[in-house]
């Protein structure tokens, strides 16, 4: 429960931010919230599901492009509802994830390092494909994507202004954050822990490892797709960089620095890294990327649980001594819910 209290505190702090920072920063923070959503999706699939996806931005990009195509009326001119766009974006991303996941995980599935390299290659292929798909803007991308239009009880409101947009996005991100947090605290979360640590034992217990992997992959893709769809409405612009390699690896850095096994830490990792980037890149100029690379390296080596998650766990962990934390990746000790068995 402490976890959700910290979550509530974090979102409350974010909610009062527009009162203290100017409209420029509010606009930037809105973007960062969307990046945070992408980080949550990556944390879910990687930190909880144990699937190291080096191309998480492909789902973000698919969501972005689908949203753009729908709301610009490129498919059917009368059907430009933002709601349909958002739903289609999430559906398209998760369908793609199911297809890709089936290809990757079925049978003698691919895992670990191989999976990282293959997802990286797929992200590169998609980026290249979108750069050359001229019907979808090619290298220049799609411009003039309308902002989200909220229609409720016959009233409609377009999200042009910065502050209302911020609160709508913040609300959406908070809902998804708490929903996913709740989800991983249910027995489904336990299954994810099991699948991350001992997939073989889970299949002995009669669970379908493939289905669980697919479900978490698709769910994470849907969240990433939603993030992408929101993102293009903020900037009004969808380009191949959304789908590709750079954003994928950036997301990976946010999540690794924040802490992949804790949704809140991953979310804040994205926001902190972006905020730090805008501040420090002014001070350090080109040295910022060097510093980021080194910080990433150090945090992976010294704090594998993440820069933010480590202090968080201290904060939460005090009262939870009775329950040992879930073992880290590659830790040979059995996951908590499983009875101790002699090692193979």
């Amino acid at each position: 429960m402490r976890n959700s209290i910290i979550g509530i505190i974090v979102f409350s702090v974010l909610a009062v931010c527009p009162l203290f920072v100017g409209s420029y920063w509010t606009g930037q923070l809105t973007n960062y919230l969307v990046y945070g959503l992408l980080a949550i999706s990556l944390s879910l699939v990687w930190g909880y599901g144990g699937i190291l996806c080096f191309g998480q931005a492909m789902f973000f990009g698919i969501g972005g492009y689908v949203m753009a195509v729908f709301t610009k009326g490129m498919i059917y001119p009368d059907l430009t509802s933002s709601y349909i766009g958002l739903i289609a974006a999430m559906a398209a991303s998760s369908l793609f994830a199911v297809a890709l996941g089936y290809f990757l995980f079925a049978g003698r599935g691919i895992s670990g390092a191989y999976l990282a390299i293959i997802t990286l290659a797929i992200a590169l292929v998609l980026e290249r494909l979108m750069s050359n798909w001229y019907a979808l803007g090619g290298y220049n991308g799609l411009l003039n994507i309308p902002p989200i239009k909220l229609v409720l009880f016959g009233l409609s409101y377009e999200l042009w202004d910065i502050v209302p947009t911020f609160y709508i996005i913040l609300g959406l991100v908070a809902v998804i954050y708490f929903a996913v947090t709740f989800l991983v605290s249910t027995p489904y979360g336990l299954l994810l822990t099991a699948i991350r640590t001992h997939p073989d034992r889970l299949s002995f217990l009669g669970y379908s490892v493939l289905n669980i992997r697919l479900s978490v992959f698709a769910l994470s893709a849907a969240i990433a797709g939603l993030a992408g769809a929101l993102f293009v409405t903020l900037d009004g612009f969808a380009s191949p960089t959304l789908i590709g390699f750079t954003l994928s690896t950036e997301a990976l850095i946010w999540v690794a620095i924040g802490g992949k096994e804790m949704l809140l830490a991953a979310f804040l990792g994205a926001i902190f890294t972006r905020v730090a980037e805008s501040w420090l890149s002014e001070i350090f100029g080109d040295y910022w990327i060097l510093i980021l690379g080194i910080a990433f390296m150090i945090s992976v080596v010294l704090l594998p649980k993440g820069l933010l998650a480590t202090p968080f766990e201290k904060l939460i962990g005090k009262k939870r001594r009775a329950i040992p934390p879930p073992p880290a990746e590659g830790d040979p000790s059995p996951a908590r819910p499983l009875p101790p068995t002699p090692d193979q």
Partner: protein, 285 residues
């Protein structure tokens, strides 16, 4: 279109790709470390050549300096970074990824983001009747073949190679027999990085040397290893030939974009259908 130059170009690309992949493979096969910074080490090799030429040193001096500098860098990386995360193979991907970002930016800071050019040691073309081909490309191919053969010789015929293969196959048993596995790891890492540096220096006159060049070789290099099979060294020859050959020939015959997409998809399919690689045995893993 003349077919011979196309095949020669493809072969020279394949040979460089094999050189890069061979370094990756030594590190991956031996230590299970995925070195995402390998492309940047390749790039630094090329930049050492740029530096050497700007100081007026001859091409050969660059060729000698590049593996030394990059190999030393490899030693530092092994001692400072890789050594601490041997037991966490997935974290090596992330840590070396951070390293690759840092190295790339370091080069941008030192040399600027624009591409540099390197002058080849020989300019002329080999002319036999109608057939013309740049001499340097032929030298490059010869040198690459010699290097690949040399690496195979080291790993298959020398005592060091025997110990290295013992460490790959059974690290604990090898350690129990008195082989210093730590030292073997370090040496192989240095050999792998030095190879990358040398490959970068060799290919520098033919391509544009810029801070982003590493990725263009890293991903095909990894795909070559996985296609060929991470077990036997020869796998890299098969994998490199398939990945490099398909990429280069399709780029000439259709378009570079189609080639890249096609080669990645073919590689992904092969890896998916035969995770142990074309030459790997099913028992592995």
């Amino acid at each position: 279109m003349d077919i011979l130059p196309v095949f020669l170009d493809a072969s020279s690309y394949i040979l460089i790709l094999i050189l890069v992949a061979l370094g990756l493979m030594i590190v991956f096969g031996m230590m299970g470390v995925i070195n995402m910074a390998h492309g940047e080490l390749f790039m630094i090799g090329a930049y050492v050549m740029v530096m050497a030429q700007s100081y007026g040193l001859p091409f050969v001096a660059g060729l000698i300096l590049a593996p030394l500098v990059v190999g030393f860098l490899g030693l530092v990386i092994e001692a400072g970074l890789i050594r601490h995360i041997y037991l966490r193979p997935l974290d090596t991907i992330l840590a070396t990824w951070g390293l690759s970002i840092a190295l790339k930016q370091l080069i941008v800071l030192l040399f600027g983001p624009e591409s540099q050019s390197v002058v080849g040691p020989v300019d002329g073309s080999l002319v036999i009747g109608d057939f013309q081909y740049p001499i340097y490309r032929l030298i490059l191919m010869g040198a690459s073949i010699a290097l690949i053969a040399g690496t195979f010789w080291i790993f298959l015929k020398t005592d060091f190679g025997l110990m290295a293969r013992a460490v790959i196959a059974r690290p604990e048993t090898a350690a129990a027999l008195g082989i210093d596995t730590r030292r073997m790891y370090r040496l192989s890492f240095v050999i792998g990085t030095a190879l990358a540096g040398l490959a970068g220096a060799l290919v520098a006159p033919l391509i544009s040397v810029d801070p982003q060049m590493g990725l263009g070789y890293l991903v095909p290099g990894f795909l070559s290893i996985l296609v060929g099979g991470a077990g036997p060294l020869a796998g890299v020859l098969v994998g490199g030939t398939i990945v490099g050959g398909v990429n280069n020939l399709l780029a000439v015959w259709i378009s570079p974009v189609t080639a890249l997409i096609a080669v990645y998809i073919i590689a992904i399919l092969i890896i998916r259908l035969r995770p142990e690689g074309l030459l790997g045995n099913r028992r592995a893993k």
